[in-house]
């Protein structure tokens, strides 16, 4: 408000309201370009896809024009076994990311929270997997999981004599999905670790000392101080991980192409194939809205957690 108090003292008293309004007009003008871009390229398409989702566009037979089908597309989406399966795979990825990823990243954070030489450097290295583009991650894992024995995993196992013949890792559906989850885990665990590290730094040290004085052991201190303090970070990681699974695309595209036999076709990839391989725009838009609603619910929950008071000012 001090801007306006100052303006008031500078300008004549009766000019204040006008001054305020012009100031605000400048503000709106400054926002305008950003709003145009965002409305034109984010919100408008979102609404447009809502419109499309009620039509069958007949992309393959354009002479038929648009045909209104009401909630037909939504009905198709919700009853489609392929959607159920790809949703299941997506949730499986999120589940692995949470079930394995949370404990692992918590453990990593505990390890890196101890003092040791070059700690700053090691923590800095944690962002490397996040920096590497998703498609390069796909390439990287295809180099590791390579089926002929030239890759790192087969190579290591043969080197140590644990297997004799190379294993085609990505050939069996369930295993392929699990390995995609692991590959995805590799890039998300370091990120979650960084968040946990930030969380660990927020725990007042006096608590630990007080607990020690009261005779609490290592495990008790972890259980009753560390874990409760990290609960918000855990929740954030959990939600972000789930949203991530809905957005996963490039890794799958390069590593498995959705195969074998669609075993790794996650929901985003399914939407992509429906839209751009089968050209079912109406159906894809309905599916997009279903995904949008699900992720928005998650995002709302997330925003509620992270930003309680800042926006209400």
């Amino acid at each position: 408000m001090s801007t306006f108090i100052l303006l008031q003292t500078v300008s004549k008293p009766w000019g204040r309201r006008k001054r305020l309004r012009t100031a605000n007009r400048v503000g709106y003008l400054m926002i305008l370009p950003a709003l145009l871009v965002v409305f034109g390229l984010l919100l408008y398409p979102l609404l447009y896809s809502l419109l499309i989702s009620f039509y069958d566009l007949h992309v393959r037979a354009p002479w038929k024009g648009w045909e209104f089908v009401g909630f037909g597309n939504y009905f198709d989406v919700l009853t489609d076994r392929e959607v159920h399966h790809s949703l299941g795979r997506t949730l499986f990825l999120a589940g692995v990311g949470i079930g394995l990823g949370l404990p692992l990243s918590l453990a990593f954070a505990m390890i890196l929270n101890q003092p040791f030489p070059l700690r700053g450097l090691v923590r800095g290295l944690l962002i490397i997997p996040w920096i590497i583009p998703g498609s390069v991650q796909g390439l990287l894992w295809s180099r590791i999981l390579e089926p002929y024995g030239y890759g790192a995993l087969n190579g290591l196992l043969i080197q140590f004599g644990w297997i004799e013949k190379p294993v085609p890792w990505l050939l069996e559906p369930m295993r392929a999905l699990f390995l995609v989850a692991i590959a995805n885990l590799w890039s998300t665990v370091p990120m979650m670790t960084l968040l946990y590290l930030a969380g660990l730094q927020g725990i007042p040290q006096e608590l630990y000392e007080a607990a020690k004085v009261d005779g609490a052991g290592r495990w008790a201190r972890f259980q009753f101080i560390t874990l409760p303090f990290l609960a918000p970070v855990t929740l954030i990681n959990l939600i972000l991980k789930t949203i991530d699974a809905f957005a996963l695309f490039d890794l799958v595209f390069v590593l498995t192409g959705g195969g074998p036999a669609r075993a790794t076709e996650v929901i985003g990839y399914h939407l992509y194939t429906r839209a751009f391989t089968r050209l079912e725009y109406g159906y894809a838009s309905a599916l997009a809205w279903v995904i949008a609603v699900m992720t928005t619910l998650l995002a709302l929950f997330y925003n509620r957690l992270t930003r309680p008071e800042r926006l209400n000012q």
Partner: protein
Amino acid sequence: MSNRRFFSQPRLWRSAQRLARSLVQLVLVMFVLAFVLGPVLWLVISSVSTSKDLLQVPPRWLPFPPSLEYYQALLFGSGATQSDGTLTELTLRAFRYSLRNSFIVAVGVTLGALGLGALAGYAFARFPLRGNALLIYLLLMVQMLPAVVLIVPLFMTMSRLGLLDRLFTVVILLTAYHLPFVMWILRSYFQSIPKDLEEAAMVDGCNRLRALWYVTLPLALPGLFAAGVYAFMQSWNAFLIPLVFTSSDTMRTVTVAIAMFVGRHYTEYGLMSAAGVLASLPPMALAIFFQRYLLASLTAGATKG
């Protein structure tokens, strides 16, 4: 001195304990490092192996001396030297194009998002605009949507406008997609800068834009760096939007080019790996250079959305 007496001295016992503990710590840290760096290391190793090394079972783990033939082929090669002839000159040229395109896209998006985001973020921070908070909230929510949700209507619109297969389209789409977050970071930065300085400048006769440009922006430089690094990385790593909105080999960005590469030349292990390393280098260099700011924007992403 017997062993027992050696250890019965409390100080020595304690230092032995400390040694053991730091050894355990060392092993654990090594484990974390192996998890994080192991996969990358394998990509780097493959990229500096010779084709003979790459076709051994088990692989040659430490190819020495490292060969830079794949990097050379990717950056300068004409394709003729490749032995099996599957690699045409076109593929190598397409890769070089894609590197250039990624630079154009990433720089374009960074500049666009910073320019628009700074103006809007500033206005959101300084003016009591109506619906201000709600609007930002809404934008951040939209941005949390996976890009795949928006892709169909955008594709239809762009194809009707005849804007497919152009870098410009990729740039504006990615700008729009990352603008809300950039705006958000900058807004909180501007809020942390006291208004007094720019007010003084305005009393001295600057208009608001000049005050913003000469007084506030220089102070907000860390925020601009944080947001800029974020925008550059996100747009360099973008995949789906460049994939859908470009189609010719000369318009692909490097992430998409690599995906195409893996599809077409799966057995060119070394060349693919070198391409992957090259594609990761710019964001990596940026991260090293701006590490402080990057972490700032990441934690902003975690704690503020």
